[in-house]
Symmetry: C2
Subunit: 308 residues, 2 copies
């Protein structure tokens, strides 16, 4: 798994790609990033930043980090990964900004990008070029340092949304770091990222939460939940997601999401119209198009787990 | 697995619970019913009715049925299970009605009950008492006789919606047959069944189909589908369902379904209102209620597969 020829870094016994890595939020996402870079021999020292001493101590015992650090210290690392809920991005950047090393590169793992870029511009001002926004499409149902593992990003997609102010070296460092983790890099504009992720991740979560809320409000909710089967189980699995994380995402990406929910409502209108009219042929045609496409989607391929 | 003490039937070497069973539609549902009764020694002979000779021949080679039969012949069996799409219920009953044996009991496996009962009343008239409506909440992603297996109904729920005209013996026979298959019996009114199934099965399918249709209509659909992950995968799995089956269900149960979709739209309105207002605390409370309930749902228990 080592990458001795990583451009811009160095191999084995010489200088690693990231001499000092700081991870803010040493959970599944941040911890797995550190673990993958360490296994590849591409990191010198790993500092962990977090609010909970016990979590940092656990991360240290697991070998994910070498020592806890403050945000002020982290700001002098070669690379800083912010792996925090998107709502905590601004506060993290505010803590880093006054102490930011001249060559330090900061990146993030947030599920939305427009609001993260906005927060970064406000916090970093003229040093915005040091921030390279990113979003690894990977994760699992588990969380915390105990869930971290070096293979999490293997063959997963990481979306980067570089800014016009980013020097090529900063983008290159982040690309190489994720590449060392085994990830494929895709580059998009922040707005494009937010629209696509609203469509395939945030809106399904919102629909699952809203649907489930409605079932729970029914007078006969216990009977309904008792008779629910595997369709219900899979359709609502994502409604068990973290309230903190999804509150932040739903607020941060609401504009793109509401464009998508309006389109979903129109699609539902079309189905209901065909039902109301007893239009069996029309309904059949609509269902066939969808069913065929869904069955063809990554047919035969295991789908990636995502933290979306 | 044998039930030597099944009330009303008889054990091992003596008369089985169902001397002659006719199964109309020998696929996963009908074939598994036959296989479970045969394994328990509670069926004498099994006749299979279907439009496709090859399917019946496959069912015979698999030992699910002893021989093919016509609807006219099936009408003289002791028990007839109709395991056909709900839209084919009326035609099946029309074929049985003129030849129906005086002691023959007919049941079904349809996913809706109000329309099935209506069709049965029209087709059977004064002999409606011989029809006991049912719905096994079991199934799998597979279909056809090759997918049938005797354990399909083990620990699954079968809902019966008996009619006022059903003599106790008719209901008892159907209950015992499903009990022999290892299923739990629940008795409900047809309208109650349709409301509950609309809520926990039919509406999730409709939402998944409508959501997926909307994604496919987007100009950048290929990009969206390429970046979709495990949340999308699980949320849309049921949108790969059979167009024929779901066309029939969506038409048959549209009234109950539209009551439910109206409630889902109101729940979505409430979430979007909180998002629009930037009401983080309100959103958090809504998400926590749902997430907690979803995580508690059958926690630690494997969920049943269903054909819903």
């Amino acid at each position: 798994m080592s990458h001795p020829d990583s451009a811009g870094g160095a191999s084995g016994s010489s200088r690693p790609l990231v001499p000092v890595l700081a991870v803010v939020g040493v959970g599944l996402i941040g911890g797995s990033f550190a673990a993958a870079l360490r296994r590849a021999g591409q990191v010198g020292e790993v500092w962990g930043v977090g609010r909970q001493v016990a979590t940092l101590e656990q991360a240290r015992k697991l070998g994910l980090i070498d020592r806890p650090a403050t945000l002020q210290e982290a700001a002098r690392a070669d690379l800083v990964l912010m792996a925090v809920p998107v709502g905590a991005t601004r506060a993290t950047l505010d803590g880093l900004a006054p102490h930011l090393g001249p060559d330090t590169v900061v990146t993030d793992a947030g599920s939305t990008k427009m609001d993260v870029v906005r927060a970064a511009r406000e916090a970093l001002g003229g040093r915005i070029g040091q921030f390279v926004p990113g979003h690894p499409i990977a994760g699992s149902e588990q969380s915390g340092p105990g869930a971290a593992f070096a293979d999490l990003y293997q063959d997963r997609t990481v979306i980067l949304t570089p800014l016009d102010e980013n020097p090529p070296g900063a983008v290159g460092l982040v690309e190489q770091a994720w590449g060392t983790c085994g990830a494929r890099i895709r580059t998009m504009r922040p707005g494009e990222h937010d629209t696509v992720l609203a469509s395939v991740s945030h809106v399904p979560h919102l629909l699952a939460f809203a649907y489930m809320a409605q079932v729970l409000e029914a007078a006969d909710a216990p009977l309904r939940l008792d008779l629910a089967g595997s369709g219900f189980r899979d359709f609502t699995r994502i409604a068990g997601g973290s309230p903190d994380m999804w509150r932040d995402i739903f607020l941060a990406n609401r504009e793109a999401m509401m464009q998508e929910t309006a389109a979903v409502r129109r699609a539902l209108d079309a189905f209901e119209q065909a039902m109301r009219q007893g239009d069996a042929a029309g309904l059949q045609a609509m269902l066939e198009t969808v069913s065929k496409s869904r069955r063809a989607w990554r047919a035969g391929q295991p789908s990636p787990d995502t933290n979306e």
